[in-house]
């Protein structure tokens, strides 16, 4: 007995030391030699990084284009974005590689888990990507902390195409950061919905947000939009992000008697519980859910019944019923073939990949400076899975480079327990309604006078420059 235990102890020790050695090896990674084009020669795929998924059976000498992504694999969005990136890489690699200029590259997506708003994980992830693996492009980041990430990417001249909720990444002092999935110019969505709800008779609105950074930013923006659209905005309600029991929140909402409730950054279980609790209080009115994917809607209908959510409008991230663009349809087909399943959570947030792809294809270069020069003087919209996404300047922050994006969005409406496509929000409307909401007309007018008006993709729009 005693001997057996001792042996087991030794076994545990042995396994742990093996694990430790594995850890040291993995932290070390492969010694990669940097080439001037910002790509690296693969050293035969020792697999130490374990991230080179997505097929691709190119020879060892083939040049490799490493595309990094800092993703929170703790969240469904992160997982979905990883799947999309693997798919995009696979499509290129199956077709023999990505031809850029004279060279054909094998695409290797590199994923780095950053936890969820975790400063240390974020830091070690970006340092591994930039300093160890010599990744030159970080596209599609989700859950990282931009201030941490940028403090590593900027001095190392790494292109950062990410997302942040404050304006850390669009400061004029930064040279290699582009907020490719911005929400600053995304007020069109709420503006449209506010107009729709006002038409149906809503007069006052209450914004409900989780007590997080996104929540606070969201509450401010949504509130401003509703005010601009002509609604009376009540004091927003913030609730702890890990709340499970929404009854007190619903009770508080109902006690303020708003006509409409806007949930900002409330999704999944929280959204279902929140709406369920609202129904329990007997409150009836307009609801704007923060995010609504098919599965959540089905669950919601199972919980509160069809009638309660009839006519609810929200931003849609599911391109399937909308998109007629053949390229997008191909992607959706390929996704369903590859994974046999469908989730729409990643469709919207994967947008930066298309901006990156467009920049490389347009410049036919892998040089970071060239790419940055192209992106920061971008003039046109890029097609993403969810419509056009376009980069704009931020003259209100004295940043005259095009570094902040208006993302593509659709509005959907719930009819008979099903999500139906209602309309597409034009890039122009996203841009103009946001400027209108923030009351920045004068600043932008000066910018336009000097640099000219931006051109937008050809879409029907509700607003024009004269409407500001």
């Amino acid at each position: 007995m005693r001997l057996g235990k001792r042996r087991l102890g030794t076994l545990v020790l042995g396994v742990l030391f093996l694990a430790l050695i594995a850890g040291l090896v993995a932290c070390g990674g492969e010694k990669s030699t940097e080439s001037t084009t910002g790509t690296t020669q693969s050293s035969g795929g020792a697999g130490a990084t374990g991230t080179s998924a997505a097929g691709g059976s190119g020879s060892a000498d083939e040049p490799v284009l490493r595309v990094g992504a800092l993703l929170s694999l703790d969240s469904i969005q992160g997982v979905e974005m990883k799947k999309w990136l693997q798919l995009f890489a696979k499509l290129y690699n199956d077709a023999g590689g990505w031809k850029i200029g004279e060279t054909t590259y094998r695409v290797e997506p590199m994923f780095y888990d950053v936890g969820m708003w975790d400063a240390t994980k974020s830091r070690s992830a970006v340092e591994k990507a930039v300093l160890q693996d010599k990744v030159k492009y970080l596209v599609c980041n989700w859950g990282d902390i931009p201030a941490e990430t940028l403090s590593v990417t900027e001095p190392n001249k790494v292109l950062w195409l990410g997302l942040d909720f404050v304006d850390d990444s669009v400061k004029p002092t930064l040279n290699y950061a582009v907020r490719a999935q911005g929400l600053f110019f995304a007020q069109g969505l709420f503006y449209y919905i506010c107009q729709d709800y006002i038409k149906q008779g809503a007069k006052s609105v209450l914004v409900v947000c989780p007590d997080t950074q996104q929540g606070h930013v969201g509450a401010q923006l949504v509130g401003a939009t509703a005010t601009t659209a002509g609604m009376q905005v009540l004091d927003p309600i913030f609730f702890s992000a890990d709340t499970a029991d929404f009854s007190p929140i619903a009770t508080k909402i109902a006690s303020q008697k708003p006509d409409a409730v806007f949930f900002s950054y409330v999704a999944g279980a929280s959204l279902i519980n929140a709406i369920g609790a609202l129904k329990d209080t007997g409150w009836k009115g307009f609801i704007l859910p923060g995010e609504l994917d098919g599965e959540t809607l089905n669950n919601l209908v199972a919980k509160v019944g069809k009638e309660y959510v009839e006519g609810m409008e929200t931003g849609s991230y599911d391109p399937r019923p909308v998109e007629k663009d053949p390229q997008t349809l191909n992607y959706i087909d390929a996704y369903q073939q590859q994974y046999g399943d469908w989730h729409s959570e990643g469709c919207f947030w994967i947008g930066p990949w298309f901006i990156f792809e467009d920049a490389i294809n347009a410049t036919q270069s892998t040089d970071v400076d060239t790419l940055v020069a192209y992106l920061t003087s971008s003039k046109k919209g890029v097609r993403t899975l969810t419509g056009y996404s376009q980069l704009f300047a931020r003259p209100d922050l004295q940043n005259y480079k095009t570094v902040d994006s208006a993302p593509g969005h659709y509005i959907g409406v719930v009819r008979d327990g099903k999500f139906e496509y209602l309309e597409t929000i034009a890039c122009k409307d996203q841009y103009l309604s946001s400027i209108k909401v923030y009351g920045l007309k004068d600043v932008y007018q000066k910018y336009w006078d000097e640099y000219g008006y931006p051109e937008f993709p050809d879409q029907p729009a509700r607003l024009d420059f004269s409407d500001l």
């Binding site: 594995a22 040291l24 932290c27 936890g115 400063a119 240390t120 940028l150 403090s151 950074q213």
Partner: protein, 346 residues
């Protein structure tokens, strides 16, 4: 009352370990050095946990006090433009004073209340960091100013690493001095026999309070240190989960090893976690399984196994009596089952 055996009889390994630590920046790249900087931070946290553990009080507010240190330093640098070197002692002071207010409520109520009260405090404190506008909200503070020495900006990884090393060695020194003194003797006595110690006139509540506050000072140093390499401070870093990891560091390293245990534990777990970067979703499972295995088959941690290996080899060579590492018995070493009577706090 345990002898710090590692530092008494086996001192020799300290020298190569120290040399290795000093030489490390010359061998590893920037990213790996950053990992070791994290290891240093976690070691500081684990040391504070271990310190308090040795008076029989497991604490689950480690991450919260780490946050207090970081926020004090960061806020003073941001809002008052203070030099980092000035904020370092201030953060220690704040942590100790605030700690005194909190712990004078809970320490006298015994281990269980201390532990649970700590959890509740940590929860509330995180809410304060997140929800109070002054601290910058859940998205974290604005970008912190760089740490400077005179006109030199401390942003070289190597010097940050050495600063961390210096702090770690300072902490170890304080730890050692304390445990070699009369105070430490009282702490050890409380750890291995609460009632016996109080029957001999040791003021259990007072000494425990002092111990927890010294731990707080260690945590404040760790918090201030993390300000040096972090671009900003974000409340989610200082959550409950981090406190649990700290506890795992200590146990995996070896509970009976006052100083080497926490460091080895932090090193092993951080490296394992880091090596699983590509498969982070499995990392908690792996960590959990390792912990369970360690508890079940090697209750005195990795160093305990190593020690008993070494001892058994020596035993065969010298055929001398082997000594297993000793554990403060109130933590439940087999010997304490009969020794410790359940009953009221002293």
């Amino acid at each position: 009352m345990r002898r710090a055996m590692l530092f008494k009889s086996n001192k020799w390994w300290l020298i190569p370990a120290f040399l290795l630590a000093v030489a490390l920046p010359f061998f590893v790249g920037a990213y790996r050095l950053q990992i070791f900087i994290f290891v240093i931070t976690y070691s500081l946290l684990a040391l504070a946990f271990q310190l308090t553990m040795r008076v029989g009080l497991p604490r689950f507010d480690v991450a919260a006090w780490w946050g207090v240190g970081a926020y004090t330093s960061g806020m003073l640098m941001l809002k008052a433009n203070m030099s980092f070197w000035l904020t370092l002692p201030i953060s220690v002071l704040v942590s100790v004073v605030l700690g005194f207010a909190v712990f004078s409520v809970s320490v006298r109520r015994g281990m269980m209340v201390f532990m649970m009260f700590g959890m509740v405090f940590a929860l509330a404190l995180q809410q304060v960091f997140g929800s109070v506008k002054f601290f910058g909200g859940w998205g974290g503070t604005p970008q912190l100013p760089p740490v400077t020495i005179g006109s030199y900006v401390l942003n070289d990884k190597m010097w940050i690493y050495y600063l961390g090393m210096a702090l770690l060695i300072f902490n170890l020194g304080v730890y050692q001095l304390l445990y070699k003194s009369r105070i430490g003797r009282a702490w050890s006595a409380i750890g291995s026999g609460l009632r016996l110690a109080s029957s001999l006139g040791v003021n259990v509540v007072g000494y425990r309070l002092a111990n927890v506050l010294v731990g707080n000072a260690f945590l404040a140093l760790a918090g201030s240190f993390s300000v040096v390499y972090q671009a900003m401070i974000i409340p989610t870093t200082y959550g409950f989960q981090q406190s649990i990891y700290v506890m795992m560091y200590v146990v995996i390293g070896g509970l009976g090893f006052a100083m080497a245990g926490p460091i080895v534990g932090a090193l092993v777990l951080t490296l394992i976690s880091e090596s699983m970067r590509a498969a982070q979703q499995y990392q908690p499972i792996v960590t959990g399984v390792i912990t369970v295995l360690i508890i079940m088959f090697a209750p005195w941690g990795l160093l305990g196994v190593l020690r008993s290996r070494v001892v058994s080899v020596l035993q065969r060579l010298l055929s001398s009596r082997a000594a297993l590492p000793d554990i403060p018995s109130s933590l439940g070493s087999p010997a304490s089952v009969t020794a410790e009577e359940p009953g009221k706090d002293a």
